[in-house]
């Protein structure tokens, strides 16, 4: 559009082409283009705004929350400043000025009722901080100089080196401690990174469990969906529509109803166990535990997510002309070979789309594992939900969520490298 490139492209230079009314062709073309571009922008604007407000901003805010740590600096500004001078690895408690600054900060905090908040934040780093801040703030009126002595007398934690080390470490406006916690690491009071002991590790195992269960669910969906989609794509339209309704039925029933149905089927006194006992396959005292564990999650989620596999597979298979298989057969291939070498490769776009869809949905699935997962069948998202709504540790929830997001993106890129995203075919 710049005039430089226009003259480059037109080396003659002198005779610029004009439209009938004497405007240079180049300019009037650019004008026409601009008009259609503006119209296109106008058309996407509502969706763009919607996505911006409901998707990008929340995600950015989540990313921000996972490292954000302003509360300490905001609530205890004087203390944080005074602590700058203190050498935390020297082995001595901070000097009197630091205690004085803390008392001043807590006086204000007590009035603005923010002491509890900072206490709760610090409690993520070291348990006991919440009550330490709460009680100290409550008694702050009675604390008098020399502050160091009285504070330690009031709460002996203030006399411990570790309390101050942790406080100093978390006084920055940004912290990585949520991410460390999300991968089962933590800081020592002096700021070194340390792996948590196995009995306190939780999230890495949970991530792995989420990944392998999602993989298993994806594979199960594929195994179940492939023959069904094949059948659907070869049947006459009337029959295939009817069958398609059966496949889509899970979409139309409430998730709760379906899940309760699974509970009724799978529980110890449930239909399947009753049947197995009645047939004599298992003894009455050896009833299988199939719900409130990983099995329950896998069965129920496979059922819920099956349509997401069937639809892309079906739509791809429908476009494969039957003459491909016939051609392969006429060229001498057994039905099996024709299927493996000709039919299957042509369904890869559908397999890819379905698998990616099911895997990504299940990796962040929440409700079904929450209802039927019990202890061993809960996924990472259940813990994100727990930290969001029960423990209120939003920073950790955000860090876990961000890791999940990165996992999904990595997977997407991997898929693009291997299969090619333009090869994918949704419904």
């Amino acid at each position: 559009m710049t005039s430089a490139t226009a003259t480059d492209a037109n080396p003659a230079g002198t005779g610029e082409v004009m439209t009938a009314d004497g405007v240079p062709l180049r300019i009037s073309l650019a004008r026409a283009r601009r008009r259609s571009r503006n119209r296109a922008l106008l058309l996407v604007a509502p969706l763009f705004l919607f996505v911006l407000i409901t998707f990008f901003i929340p995600i950015l805010s989540m990313l921000f929350r996972s490292v954000e740590n302003q509360i300490v600096g905001e609530t205890l500004p004087h203390t944080v400043e005074a602590l700058q001078q203190w050498d935390e690895s020297g082995g001595d408690l901070p000097p009197e000025e630091v205690y004085a600054a803390l008392v001043e900060d807590l006086r204000i905090a007590n009035e603005t009722k923010t002491a509890g908040k900072v206490g709760r934040r610090m409690n993520y780093e070291k348990s006991g901080f919440a009550s330490l801040f709460r009680t100290t703030a409550r008694r702050i009126k009675r604390i008098e100089a020399p502050y160091k002595e009285t504070l330690i007398k009031a709460k002996k934690d203030w006399g411990e080196l570790e309390t101050w080390q942790v406080l100093k470490r978390e006084s920055d406006a940004y912290t990585l401690s949520y991410y460390l916690a999300a991968v089962d690491f933590s800081y020592t009071p002096t700021g070194e990174v340390l792996k948590l002991p196995d009995d306190r590790s939780l999230y890495v195992g949970l991530f792995w469990r989420t990944i392998w269960m999602s993989l298993l669910i994806t594979v199960l969906c594929l195994i179940l969906a492939y023959p069904i989609s094949y059948l659907l794509s070869t049947l006459p339209v009337k029959t295939s529509n009817l069958l398609m309704i059966l496949v889509l039925l899970p979409f139309w029933t409430s998730l709760l109803v379906r899940t309760s149905a699974w509970i009724a089927l799978l529980q110890k006194e449930g239909v399947i166990n009753d049947l197995l006992v009645w047939v004599g396959l298992i003894g009455d005292e050896h009833r299988l535990t199939m719900i409130h564990n990983a099995t329950g999650t896998i069965v129920a989620m496979t059922h819920v997510l099956l349509p997401f596999m069937v639809l892309p597979l079906y739509s791809v298979m429908k476009t494969i002309p039957p003459s491909y298989m016939r051609a392969a057969r006429s060229l001498g291939a057994t039905p099996f070979m024709a299927f493996v070498r000709v039919y299957m490769p042509n369904t890869v776009p559908g397999i890819g789309a379905g698998a990616l869809l099911v895997f990504i949905i299940s990796i962040g699935y929440y409700i079904t594992p929450a209802l039927v997962g019990g202890q061993s069948g809960t996924l990472i998202s259940n813990f994100i939900a727990y930290h969001l709504s029960i423990s209120l540790n939003w920073g950790l929830a955000a860090a876990l969520g961000t890791i999940l997001l990165v996992l999904v993106l990595a997977l997407y890129i991997l898929y693009d490298k291997i299969v090619g995203i333009d090869n994918m075919k949704m419904g």
């Binding site: 003459s323 491909y324 016939r326 392969a328 006429s330 001498g332 291939a333 070979m337 042509n346």
Partner: protein, 365 residues
């Protein structure tokens, strides 16, 4: 083709129904000789594809038996029949290159690599696509894809190749060129071809014999020139080439000839081919180029008054529509030679023809 070598393919009393109510192929008997180019020609829905599919093994025959080299093949699955096939939409495998497509039938036959490459190159040379081995089917033009499909059906040296309207998707020029090429390949390789089309000029150009299908029945099986010159029934006479029909009733049979009272008036002496006895109804069939305009009186056995209705100038001949014997769709082709007096619409003329050129056939439709 009658006695000497045994036929490569033999259909014996083949019947086929898809729904258990309608027979789409009715009692088909057909022999295909070794090295023959046999075309199944017929209107849409006449059962041509069905016959081909039964031969290829994709549809079971409802009744009867098909023999390949004297072996019954009803129970032989398609991949063991060793029959090459060219599909209408080519059915090239889109995820394989051209060379891989050609390699497929060789790989499933467990041929070793040098042999495969030799054959692939030979087949690609045969269809003049030597440079195209690395292309994907999507990168080929219609004609090129068509050639690859032909090469793939031939690369494993089958004795028999089936082609179901292989040129249906090509434009007219390309189609004519491909007809020539396929014919050429057939002659060079000596392979037997069963070809399906509903384009009669395609059938006439390419085939050794043509089986004209209608309504699940072979109406006539004959070499192209016989089909045109000596149609055995009204359907074939009408389906192949241009034809004048005069409907009438037989009033007398006299050896090879018969007298027919045409419905619109006039009595015609015709060559009796396929007729009932006296009093039966018949269709007279007469090629437009066998009709003479204003013949010398008495020079032809059939001479009638006619009225010129329409003249169409077509360069080498003038297509003239006249009303004669109460039929106003009677066409005469007048060669464009200078000594012919030019006609005008509305002129009264005389038209005449020989007994041998006017064939009395069955009365159907």
């Amino acid at each position: 083709m009658t006695d000497s070598p045994p036929p490569l393919v033999r259909f014996e009393n083949i019947q086929k129904s898809y729904d258990g109510r309608i027979l789409v192929v009715k009692d088909l008997n057909l022999n295909v000789a070794q090295g023959e180019f046999l075309t199944m020609l017929g209107p849409s829905g006449s059962g041509k594809t069905t016959c081909l599919m039964m031969l290829a093994g994709f549809e079971p025959a409802t009744h009867g038996e098909i023999f390949l080299k004297d072996q019954p093949i009803n129970r032989v699955p398609p991949h063991k029949r060793g029959i090459g096939m060219v599909f209408q939409n080519y059915a090239l495998f889109p995820h394989m290159t051209v060379a891989e497509n050609l390699s497929f039938p060789l790989e499933v036959r467990k041929m070793d690599k040098p042999e495969r490459e030799r054959r692939i190159n030979r087949a690609l040379e045969m269809v003049q696509l030597g440079e195209f081995g690395d292309r994907r089917p999507a990168q080929l033009s219609g004609g090129q894809a068509q050639r690859v499909a032909v090469a793939r059906a031939l690369v494993f040296d089958p004795d028999l190749v089936l082609m179901d309207e292989p040129l249906g998707a090509l434009d007219k020029n390309l189609r004519e060129q491909m007809q020539y090429e396929i014919k050429h390949i057939h002659e060079n390789l000596g392979v037997t071809v069963v070809y399906v089309t509903h384009d009669q000029s395609e059938a006439l150009t390419m085939s050794n014999r043509i089986a004209v299908f209608n309504d699940g029945v072979i109406q006539q099986l004959a070499p192209p020139e016989d089909l045109y010159e000596k149609p055995l029934n009204a359907f074939v006479a009408n389906f192949i080439g241009e034809n004048n029909r005069l409907l009438g009733r037989i009033t007398g049979v006299n050896g090879d000839s018969c007298t027919v009272d045409v419905d619109g008036g006039g009595s015609v002496v015709a060559n009796s081919i396929n007729i009932g006895g006296e009093g039966a109804r018949t269709t007279l069939s007469l090629r437009p180029e066998r009709v003479a305009i204003n013949p010398e009186p008495g020079s032809l056995p059939n001479i009638f008054d006619a009225n010129v209705e329409e003249l169409i100038y077509l360069g080498d001949h003038i297509r003239t529509r006249v009303a004669v014997c109460g039929h106003d769709d009677f066409v005469v082709k007048i060669p464009n030679s200078s000594h012919h007096a030019s006609l005008e619409v509305g002129n009264s003329v005389k038209v005449g023809w020989n007994v041998e050129d006017c064939r009395a056939l069955d009365s159907s439709d």
